[in-house]
Amino acid sequence: MLSINNLHAAVDGKPILKGIDLEVGAGEVHAIMGPNGSGKSTLANVLVGRDGYDVTGGQVVYRGKNLLDFSVEERACEGIFLAFQYPVEIPGVSNLYLLKAALNSVRKHRGLSEISAVEFLKLIKEKIKLVEMKEEFLHRSVNEGFSGGEKKRNEILQLAVLEPSLAILDETDSGLDIDALKVVANGVNSLRDEQRAMIVVTHYQRLLDYIVPDKVHILANGRVVKSGDKTLALELEKRGYTWLAQNSDAAAAPSAGV
């Protein structure tokens, strides 16, 4: 589904991603871990096409197409979704309005007609149950005045409504209390299927207890320095990043990982 090949990217002329390689197949869940500032969010932002993240080398192929040729909204319509680490607040635009506009954009792209008001409400009612969100949140402005945890839950609501093919979750677990974590994980798990892939960025094993990954990658200094199965996360939890630093030749070698 997603094939990242020797990806380099810079922000403000400063190289951040320094040769990322990653293969994500349909139906797989990949976890990305790594120290603060290692480039995890940068990778996520590059994948969704955010302005200011300049790709300086490498390729990203998504479902057989060169992803980097597409605009932000085209990528979204093609099924890429990023649950942001820091979702923005949008005063004056209601959650419900955004969900409907987004869903209709995606439907239009797929050649479907606009969803009827009745159908839409039915869908939304079902989805807010999934993330255990109160209905009043639908009528509030997007994320405005939401607590940290509520914002994250709201991202998952959007994810559940838009049903993307590739979902990227950037630290969706941080700031969540233990109950909310379960709710979010359940929501995410219910969306797992053969057709859908997920990239879960996290610092904590805790989330991976609920969302069990097929693969775990460790990013350091803009490169994937180690990849493994779910046990890698457990090992990392036990031994910390200093253990990785000891394998520093691995971190330096461009062919490291996988």
Binding site: R50, S71, V72, E73, R75, V88, I90, G92
Partner: protein, 444 residues
């Protein structure tokens, strides 16, 4: 050169005076001549006048506009705004003159008088003698003075005491001028809402063609004790036209007046709103929205005078500007010495959608009483690129994302407009202006 143009107006007055409606009635002549002499004295303002510092009216002042006469009025092909959802009593004026055939006044309830000012002048309606011109400040600029000199037609609206008018009264000014010789219209309205009455009035300027013409309008609005008035000025002139308008509001005890001042037309458009709170318990809400595109210049000067104690005013103006448009907002609050316990709020927020759009916003508080609550705030900002990106990342294209956010910006002021079809129309115009980057009504 200005002198010559000004003289042309004076000469035009002299030639036309006796033929104007009520021209043989001495008091009418006196009113007109007071306007003329004020005009002779001050002429057109220039950027050296503090109140016109950011609005250069030279394009208006440098050429003589001929008065649009009734005989030349062509009423065919004039398209009037139609709202299926808005039921209204309607007065239509083409090129400044009342056109009964296009108007719709059959269903006016008892206690409501709506007539053309020219008829009212000819018939010598007694109230006009005492009230017409009374609420226009003496220290008037040349435009309003010229309007007084040439006052001819417009609406005279009188709501009897304790009368509630269910449907809005709509005054539609259409300009359909052939453009060969630039012409000017002088709409003049007098609205008197009697004690305890309730009414909504919609004063609206639209254009039939994208011509250059000049509208020089003055409205006087009087709210008698406990009257409640919801007033709209909706300015949608041709993008090549000039519009200078005054709205002078006088409020008596316990009256409530909401002015909704919406400006989106005109190459140069200026509105002076002046509210006088003359007796205790009066409340004024001033809502405003201006939308500029292309090379439009839109100026709103507002002033509220708190003359006595225990009055409140709440002003909320928002502007959305794109292209190379420019806006001016000047909000003056004067709290006179006796006006203790005044509560006056003012807020002006602007959204610039392009690099070349510009706004000058200036609050001016003059407070001579000591026990008052006044606050003001002004902001100028752009769309937040993070918000645009966020919406795009959910599949919404950039234009739609920008228009959603723009509407979100303007929504809280639009929601203050009580007439729903007006709200819908503004949402539509806002989106259109933004998407096309052109003033409303201008062809693509």
């Amino acid at each position: 050169m200005f002198e010559a143009v000004q003289k042309a107006y004076v000469d035009a007055y002299e030639g036309a005076a006796s033929g104007l409606p009520g021209g043989s009635i001495p008091w009418v002549r006196r009113v007109r001549e007071s306007g003329l002499s004020r005009f002779r004295e001050v002429g057109f303002p220039t950027v050296r006048d503090e109140d016109w510092k950011y609005t250069n009216v030279r394009p208006i002042a440098k050429q003589p506009f001929a008065t649009a006469v009734r005989d030349g009025v062509v009423v065919t092909g004039v398209e009037l705004p139609e709202h299926a959802a808005l039921e209204s009593h309607r007065c239509v004026f083409v090129n400044g003159h009342f056109i009964p055939d296009l108007s719709r006044l059959q269903k006016l309830p008892d206690g409501v008088t709506v007539m053309s000012l020219s008829d009212a002048l000819r018939q010598g309606v007694a109230e006009l003698e005492t009230e017409l011109g009374r609420f226009v400040p003496d220290a008037l600029h040349g435009f309003a003075a010229l309007n007084t000199a040439f006052l001819t037609d417009g609406a005279y609206i009188r709501i009897s005491d304790n009368c509630s008018v269910e449907h809005p009264i709509e005054l539609i000014y259409v300009c359909a001028l052939d453009g060969e010789q630039p012409q000017v219209c002088y709409p003049r309205n007098l609205v008197i809402a009697g004690t305890g009455s309730r009414v909504a009035v919609l004063e609206r300027y639209v254009c039939a063609q994208q011509d250059r013409y000049f509208t020089n309008a003055v409205t006087e609005l009087v709210a008698r004790p406990s009257a409640q008035v919801d007033y709209y000025k909706l300015q949608q002139e041709s993008a090549r036209a000039f519009h200078v308008g005054g709205l002078f509001v006088h409020q008596d005890r316990d009256s409530t007046v909401t002015t909704n001042n919406i400006a989106m037309g005109g190459a140069i458009a200026r509105t002076d709103l002046h509210v006088t709170l003359s007796d205790t318990g009066a409340h004024s809400t001033m809502n405003g929205l201006y939308i500029g595109a292309g090379r439009q210049h839109i100026d709103n000067h507002t002033q509220v005078d708190h003359r006595v104690a225990h009055c409140t005013s709440d002003e909320f103006y928002k502007g959305v500007l794109t292209g190379r448009s420019r806006a001016v907002f000047h909000g003056r609050i004067v709290v006179h010495q006796d006006a203790q316990h005044t509560d006056a709020q003012q807020q002006n927020n602007n959204l610039l959608l392009s690099r070349d759009a510009e706004v000058d916003t200036k609050p001016q508080l003059e407070i001579y009483a000591d026990d008052v609550k006044c606050s003001h705030g002004a902001t100028v900002g752009q769309l937040d690129p993070n918000s645009v990106f966020y919406l795009q990342s959910r599949g919404i294209d950039q234009d739609s994302a920008r228009s959603m956010l723009t509407y979100a910006f303007a929504k809280d002021v639009i929601n203050r407009f009580a007439i729903e079809p007006i709200r819908d129309e503004l949402e539509h115009h806002l989106t259109l202006t933004l998407l096309r980057g052109k003033p409303v009504g201008e062809p693509a």
